[in-house]
């Protein structure tokens, strides 16, 4: 029986990272708030104590629950009877592990931004920390929260596509096309090996693409051959990657990710081709799934429409034609996590269909990044996964 067994009402949430100048922290807060399932009550929002204070006040935290660092927060919150039940970790990658460890060992659930960590060594430690803890670990691969991504996964699983032959996934942006302004906090840490880890674009967005591919297709990766580049002068990490993929059973694929593709905003897109049908989904137009049965007209399956299954529809809030987007997808992860956290209180089983990316997905992503770097360093030799 969890020590949160008697709790009622919104889940009390803390946050590590996400202070002034951050981006994804505010997204997590909005996502957590959207459906009313969480209440943000504590934060260690910056590694600079002064900034942590200012940031905490700005978002309206009580002064005694604004912490200088995550260790302090983990200690004190775990001692309060009204302490946080879950924490969102939204720091640069290198802090995912120590922050998660601090909360996991105190039984506080962790909702961690992707990628799992910056390095494989950290990932291995994270794996151990999760294993040793009773608490839940949720990894926010946002795009898995889109209803039509879930619909796609279900359709693949039930055989609508036949046997999968090919998967083409890509994630293209252009916001790092030039040497970034040093004041751009988002750009700075993502291009710094000390904070981002072994990968640049391949880690930051490549792991999203990888997760989407694995999540929808269920394919078992076998090997990859990668060619990573840094196009912007003096950049220390990759800003573009081409990857060829081989899966168990003979399926093949490619993954392209880029942060220097002029004109591409946030173009995550997947196409899957099976013996019976093709399937296509793109994040920038997320309320449409195109299913193309071989020899028949393509079908446009829309969010919330009768053509979608129960699991996809469970994750929508409005009738067809009312576009849901990035925040709703993100909030869906928080909703699924909420159900899991509530079930965890009493040890109840997770209701059928509830799902979210977890440690295993994070480990898969890290193995993917490592293999890409390794292959690219070996002149694109195939690396077994």
């Amino acid at each position: 029986m969890s020590r949160f067994a008697g709790r009622e009402g919104p889940i009390r949430l803390g946050m590590v990272g996400g202070g002034q100048g951050a981006m994804i922290g505010a997204v997590h807060r909005t996502a957590a708030r959207l459906d009313g399932g969480y209440e943000l009550v504590a934060g260690a929002l910056s590694s600079t104590p002064q900034k942590a204070q200012a940031s905490g006040q700005e978002i309206g935290l009580q002064s005694d629950r604004i912490y200088d660092d995550f260790t302090q927060m983990a200690e004190r919150e775990s001692q309060r009877s009204d302490g946080i039940e879950a924490v969102a970790i939204v720091t640069p990658n290198h802090l995912h592990l120590p922050a998660a460890q601090a909360f996991l060992k105190r039984g506080i659930h962790v909702i961690c931004d992707k990628p799992l960590t910056g390095t494989m060594a950290d990932a291995t430690e994270m794996q151990a920390a999760v294993k040793e803890s009773d608490a839940l670990f949720i990894l926010t691969h946002t795009y898995a929260g889109y209803p039509l991504v879930r619909e796609a996964a279900e359709r693949v699983a039930r055989g609508d596509l036949g046997d999968i032959r090919l998967v083409q996934v890509e994630y293209a942006q252009d916001w790092l096309s030039q040497k970034p302004d040093p004041d751009n906090k988002q750009a700075s840490w993502r291009t710094d090996p000390a904070r981002s880890g072994i990968g640049g674009a391949i880690s930051d967005i490549g792991t999203h693409a990888w997760h989407l591919l694995c999540h929808i297709t269920g394919l078992q990766p076998e090997a990859l051959a990668a060619d990573l580049q840094s196009f912007v002068p003096d950049r220390q990490l990759d800003d573009n990657a081409h990857v060829m993929l081989r899966f168990a059973g003979g399926a093949r694929g490619t993954l392209w990710c880029s942060q220097v593709a002029a004109g591409q905003e946030n173009n995550l897109r997947i196409r899957i081709f099976g013996t019976k049908a093709g399937l296509e989904w793109a994040q920038e137009n997320p309320n449409r799934l195109i299913l193309s049965p071989l020899g028949e007209p393509a079908r446009l399956i829309t969010t919330a429409s009768p053509a979608t299954g129960e699991n996809a529809r469970r994750l929508t809030r409005v009738p067809p034609g009312h576009p849901e987007g990035y925040f709703e997808a993100f909030a869906n992860l928080y909703c699924e996590a909420e159900i899991a956290i509530r079930a965890h209180r009493t040890g109840a089983a997770l209701p059928e269909g509830v799902q979210f990316p977890t440690l295993a997905d994070g480990m898969s992503g890290m193995r993917f990044v490592q293999a890409c770097v390794q292959s690219s360093n070996a002149n694109s030799a195939w690396v077994t996964l």
Copy 2:
């Protein structure tokens, strides 16, 4: 000086309507919650007291702030020191007036769903009620909350299009294509003159299209000629309308709205043509505005991109390519209202750029509906607006 002058923190909000089986109430709650600016603390969620109770409990209201009816709620909340500062009215149209009156006369701001009322008589009384009250009146023409709608309005205002010649606006749905299930609450009241008022589709979605047109173009309507139809047998109100429009200065346009257009989900779309350029926006793909300068390639202006002005960007939360949708647009109205409500406390001026649909827009909408009905009854004769 408002009696809410000393207030801090989220705005305390009440709700009338939006109980079990309702749709738009939940949308209002989510929109109010999304950015953390409001706290829903009281409700008269149904005209059936038992249902009002159950609904209030379901969404977690304190039992002493779940009311049997809006009159009771208005009285008691206005007497509490922590009473609501604003109320969202999300009932069928015929209740907009009495509910609004109850709160306006007690100085509680009203956030009212559209259309303003069901009848012109009610609208006139609403106008008086708003005039007599010091409180604010906000009408939730959702689509005005989309950043690119604001961008469009700014571009028209600053002359990017030259003089406007033509406007084509349409709002097409198909969910009332057949005789609805009597248990479908949404369909029932919208097709019932006693609750919907004098218009069917023309009132329910035609007013949205009309507001969008007026909001973006700033054109002064002069006259209209309308042909309204009821395609579904035994339907008492229009489910489709064709309207030709004339504006001051010679501009012309058409408005089409339908709830029986098979395959159309929620297709609100506007095209504007001026002497210098054309402009196009569609609600189902709301993060893209197409500007077509005469003789030059069309430009795709995207949400949050550098091409957008300050006012549009102020209403976005994430970088380009992360789709925002219906809820974010709706939340933007709540954000603008929040700024106005806070300014109202001390009598401060509204910051530049803050705007939301208000009584004048509601009156314009009602005159539009009335003129359509009148024209259609007169075999589409032109009716002056």
Copy 3:
């Protein structure tokens, strides 16, 4: 038995109009040539004899078959044993009638550009001339030649859409947005009542939209209410038109045509909504037909794909995904005409499925134009068709 009964090989074709500075004449020549069914052997290409000579030489006609005017051409060609069997009339509207008369009365088939004539009086005479002649009369409503337009018509006819409720058709261009250069021959005659006739845009492109609507839906028009405008100063004919439509059986629709819609190139588009499904086709993307059964995902039906019927596939030349366009559609009309002309030689019946716009379509178009002008002059009063 026709006097062309013994003929073999390509059909010998003459042309009236289409000289230097013309546009549609070259299109007809290309369309006639595309599938090898015709040989252009004679021409009266301009009303200015000198220009007629120069134009004829330019396109490689034999000098003795370059004529000063169509009367001369009709006389001499009808006397030659190798004389033309058909003539393409591609002049401004006011010459359609006299040119057609000259050939029809000599038993030479007429392939006439649209609209039928410039005025209703001319149309009535044309009707008589066709009636009195044994020769065929083909009107080139180009867009009827698109395979997916034929597919659409078949699907409507066999009931895929159920009973039609609504039709929205539009044809928008922007090339007459400004006062045209006087040297622009295309613009000059189209904006000149003496050559264009009673209508401007409504005649030039409105009749195309009207034909498309009638051809696909098969609906019987009952009445229309129109509002015609001339936006460009000093323009004598309409350059924009809004039309509301009523059909037998209760179906309704709108037609919008414009030559002053900035950013619109040649946007002819139709949407049809029935009790069972909706249908959409657009000329600028002509190889895709969208069918939306009520409550089911929309289907993308592509040119030459297995989803198309025999009649549509008969009009395509390449496998799916190889775009066919304007010339191929135009050539399809010439192909159908060729089949009819060959059948006419021996009095054989037209093979099933062969069809093309003819005098009846032209008369329908002229009645449409006249009714629009009449309605607009009567402040948009409904005019019975």
Copy 4:
């Protein structure tokens, strides 16, 4: 001075291949006919003499110019005073070389379908044959004939994109997704190494994609790493290929071609990203080029619009919005060839801007295919080009 120096009128054309059951031969005939520049007068349309006869009669050739084989045709035509000046070779790949040799050595220009040959050995011989002949050699990489492809190439060349970093090109079809019917002549020879050569999809459509990439970007290829697959059981040649590309100067790219991608019809698509802008074009929607300057809205450049340069506009026949497609692109190659053939008669220089794929492009394509096969056989090792 060419022996065709005195010729006038349409160019007399012969054809090798393209008999009954063929596909691309009819396309060549239509393309040659579209603008009136050629007259097809002779043919050896099949390697089966009987079929050659029947096919020749079917398309209306004079009986004395229907030949049993291409050797006979080359001999006899070269002896006629009115003999062919050019020949279109539209056979399976293995016959390109011997057929071309027969005509080249007699000074007859060759218009040859792609790929250049089936094997590298043949390609080398073809190179010699072209070198030894005074005649022209034109390779029909159709897609180079699209006006907007030319526009793209010009814009890249003049620096609109800055330095190119990335190129993603793909050509996906699904028509070989299953074991083909043995009667399907198109499928049979393309999947037969004896007739297709060393490559399957990589040769048939991969070379198109490769040419498009090279033509538009002008990049110098350095190396490639390829993974070729045969998904359909018992297929002897590749039906899908993933290729990673490296270019001189550091640009990188990928090429994907497939004939087993369910739902893809003829999806040739290229995206190019430079330091200043991105560019996108897709064959199935060929009248639109998307240019995305970094930090600015994307521009939609349409065929025949004022935004296009002289060279692109020279290749269009109608105003904007009148879709031109596959046949017009193909005809543009024939038009360019016609200009070159006429210039060749007198030794005149080719007018500026006239261009078409030639032997060098064919050799580049063959080296590409060979390198792909070699790399794939070496487990995707990088192969220098």
